[in-house]
C-alpha cells in the first residue's frame, strides 16, 4: 500500500519537557474525513497541533504528499497547502465576514481570490448574506462557518479542524457536519478533533481513538461505532 497523503508518524513530544504524545500516528487520504476522538486530556488537540507544527516533536515525522515537513513552521505549512481552524479565537471579530475571508487569502498572489470567495459563499450561503457584518456579531454556528471559510481561502489540500462544533446547538452541529462532508467531496482531506464522538465517527472514513497520547483503536468510523469495546469505553454504551 502506498503512503497516505498526509501522515504524522510515530509522533512523540509535548509543549514542554513532559511528552504528551507517545508514538502516535495519524493519517488521512485525499477526500477522506479522519476524526480523532478520545477522553478529555487524551492529547487529541495536541496530536493535531503536532501535525500542524505547533509543537516540537522529539521523535516521529510529518509527511505531506511524500515530502517531509517535520521541520516547517505552521505558516510554512499553510503555504504547502494545509489549512487550520483553531478551536477558539478563530476569526477576526472586529472585521467583516468578507474581510475575514480576504485575510484568509493573504498569502495568495493569484487573481482567483474572488472566485474562491464565491465558492465559500455558495457553501455557506448565510455568509454571503452577512458579508458586510462584523464577524464578532454573528452567532456561534455562523462564526464557525467564517472560521472554516477563512481557512478554505488558501485552497488547502488538507483542512484541520479543532472541535468545529464546540459550543453550537445539535441542529447547527448537523449542518456543520454536512458542510464538512461537502468539503471532503471536493477532494480536500479533513482531519478533525471532535467531542461529539458518535456523530463525528458516523461521518468519518477513518477514526482514531486516542488515550493518553497513544493510539488505542484505529479503524473506519463505522467499524469503531460497531466495536463493543469502543462503545463501552468511549461512546457511553
Amino acid at each position: 500500500m502506498s503512503e497516505p497523503f498526509l501522515i504524522g508518524q510515530n509522533m512523540t513530544g509535548g509543549y514542554g519537557p513532559v511528552d504528551i504524545l507517545h508514538d502516535c500516528t495519524l493519517a488521512v487520504e485525499p477526500g477522506e474525513i479522519a476524526v480523532i476522538v478520545g477522553p478529555n486530556g487524551a492529547g487529541k488537540s495536541t496530536a493535531m497541533k503536532a501535525v500542524f507544527g505547533m509543537l516540537n516533536l522529539r521523535q516521529g515525522q510529518v509527511r505531506l504528499g511524500g515530502e517531509d515537513i517535520t521541520g516547517l513552521s505552521p505558516q510554512a505549512r499553510v503555504r504547502k497547502g494545509m489549512g487550520f481552524v483553531p478551536q477558539t479565537h478563530n476569526i477576526f471579530t472586529g472585521m467583516t465576514v468578507e474581510e475575514n475571508l480576504e485575510m484568509g487569502a493573504f498569502i495568495r498572489e493569484d487573481e482567483g481570490i474572488a472566485g474562491t470567495m464565491e465558492q465559500i459563499y455558495d457553501l455557506f450561503p448565510i455568509l454571503r448574506q452577512k458579508r458586510y457584518q462584523k464577524a464578532g456579531e454573528l452567532s456561534g454556528g455562523q462564526r464557525q462557518q467564517v472560521a472554516v471559510g477563512r481557512a478554505l481561502m488558501t485552497k488547502p489540500k488538507v483542512l484541520m479542524l479543532d472541535e468545529p462544533t464546540a459550543g453550537v446547538s445539535p441542529i447547527v452541529m448537523d449542518e456543520l457536519f454536512d458542510r464538512i462532508i461537502e468539503i471532503a467531496r471536493t477532494g480536500i482531506s479533513i482531519l478533525m478533533v471532535e467531542q461529539n464522538a458518535r456523530q463525528a465517527l458516523d461521518i468519518a472514513d477513518k477514526g482514531y481513538v486516542l488515550v493518553q497520547g497513544r493510539n488505542r483503536y484505529t479503524d473506519t468510523g463505522q467499524a469503531l461505532l460497531a466495536d463493543p469495546d469502543v462503545r463501552k469505553s468511549f461512546l457511553g454504551g
Partner: protein, 334 residues
C-alpha cells in the same frame, strides 16, 4: 442680551482654539492608539517623539529660510515637514530595531515594554535638548492671520472680534486630511486590513501568513509621521519647547483612553472631548456671560473654574473618571 456677540466670543475663545488644539491632540492620540493596538503597549515616548520630529522640522525650516525659500503666506515649516517626517520615521524605526524588537522576541509583558518606552522617552528627551536646546523656539512665519479680527469687525460691525490664525486653520485641515488618509488606508488597503487583522487576533494573523514584522514597521512609520505632523502643528500654533511636548502626553493618553484604546475613531473623538473640556474649564466666561445677562449680575468674578495653569488636571480627571466608570472607552477599545 446680545446673542450674536456672545456667539462670536464663544467661537473666538472656545470653538476655534478647541478645534485647532483637538486636531493636534488627535494626530498624536492616533499614533498612541495605533501603537497600542498593534504593538500592545502604551508608548510613553510618544510626546518626546513629537518633540524630536518637530526639532528637525525647525532645523530644516531655518535651513530653508537661510536659502530664502518660503511658502508665501503659509509657514515655511510645511515645506520642511516632509523632511522632518522622514527623520522621525528613521528614528522610530531605529528605536524599534535597537530596543523594542528584543522585547517582542522574548514576548515581554506589556507593562515591561511600557517601562522600556519610558526609558526611550528620557533618551529622546535628552537628544532633543542636545539638538535644539531647552529654550523656546519660534519658527512660525508667513501670514499670521487667516481671518483677521479687524477685518471681521469691519465686515460684521460687531463689537467682538473673531480671529482665526493661519496655524489654527492649517491644524484642522491637516488633521482632516490625515484622518481621511488613515481611515482609507486601514479600511480599504490590503496592508491596512492586515494591520487591523494583526491587532484583532495575532495568532490567526500569523496563521493567515501576515508578516508581523512588516505590520510593526508600517505601524511605526504611520505613528512617527503622525507624531511629527502633530508636533509641528502644535509648535506652529503655540511655540516650541521640548518640555511642553512631554506634558502633552497626558491629554493625548486621556484622549486615546476616552475614545477606547485601540480605536482610531475613538482617539479622534476623545481628542476633541479633552480639548474642549480643557478650554471650557479654564476659560474665563465673564466676557461671554457679559453679553447674555445684565452686567451688574456678574460682579467681579471671572467665572473661571480653574486657572489655565491647572489645565493638565482636566485631562487627568477625565482619565481617572473614564478608567473608573467606563474603562473600555466610548468606542469599546481593549
Amino acid at each position: 442680551m446680545d446673542l450674536l456677540n456672545a456667539l462670536v466670543a464663544f467661537l473666538n475663545f472656545i470653538l476655534v482654539p478647541g478645534l485647532a488644539y483637538g486636531s493636534q491632540l488627535a494626530l498624536g492620540a492616533l499614533g498612541i492608539t495605533l501603537i497600542f493596538s498593534v504593538l500592545r503597549f502604551s508608548n510613553f515616548a510618544h510626546g518626546d517623539t513629537m518633540a524630536f520630529g518637530t526639532a528637525f522640522v525647525i532645523l530644516f525650516t531655518w535651513w530653508f529660510q537661510s536659502m530664502g525659500i518660503t511658502a508665501g503666506p503659509l509657514p515655511t515649516a510645511l515645506l520642511a515637514l516632509p523632511l522632518g517626517i522622514l527623520v522621525t520615521i528613521a528614528m522610530v524605526l531605529a528605536t524599534d530595531r535597537a530596543v523594542y524588537r528584543y522585547y517582542r522576541k522574548v514576548r515581554a509583558k506589556p507593562i515591561i515594554v511600557v517601562i522600556v518606552s519610558t526609558g526611550v522617552m528620557f533618551v529622546m528627551n535628552g537628544l532633543v535638548r542636545m539638538i535644539i536646546g531647552t529654550q523656546e523656539q519660534n519658527f512660525t512665519d508667513g501670514a499670521r492671520m487667516w481671518l483677521n479680527p479687524q477685518d471681521f469687525k469691519a465686515a460684521t460691525g460687531l463689537a467682538e472680534p473673531l480671529a482665526i490664525k493661519t496655524t489654527q486653520a492649517i491644524s484642522v485641515v491637516a488633521a482632516v486630511l490625515c484622518c481621511i488618509f488613515l481611515f482609507w488606508f486601514l479600511q480599504k488597503t490590503r496592508t491596512g486590513k492586515s494591520m487591523r487583522a494583526y491587532s484583532d487576533n495575532e495568532d490567526l494573523a500569523l496563521l493567515s501568513g501576515i508578516n508581523p514584522e512588516r505590520v510593526v514597521t508600517i505601524t511605526w512609520m504611520i505613528a512617527g509621521a503622525l507624531a511629527c505632523i502633530a508636533g509641528t502643528l502644535y509648535g506652529l500654533d503655540k511655540s516650541y519647547r521640548g518640555i511642553v511636548y512631554f506634558s502633552l502626553l497626558m491629554p493625548m493618553f486621556a484622549a486615546a483612553v476616552v475614545g477606547g484604546l485601540g480605536s482610531p475613531v475613538g482617539a479622534v473623538v476623545g481628542s476633541f472631548i479633552v480639548a474642549f473640556s480643557e478650554l471650557i474649564v479654564t476659560n474665563a466666561w465673564k466676557k461671554i456671560f457679559g453679553y447674555l445677562v445684565p452686567a451688574d449680575w456678574l460682579g467681579d468674578g471671572l467665572y473661571q473654574a480653574l486657572s489655565t495653569d491647572y489645565k493638565v488636571a482636566v485631562s487627568f480627571s477625565i482619565l481617572i473618571l473614564v478608567l473608573l466608570f467606563r474603562p473600555q472607552g466610548i468606542f469599546g477599545g481593549k
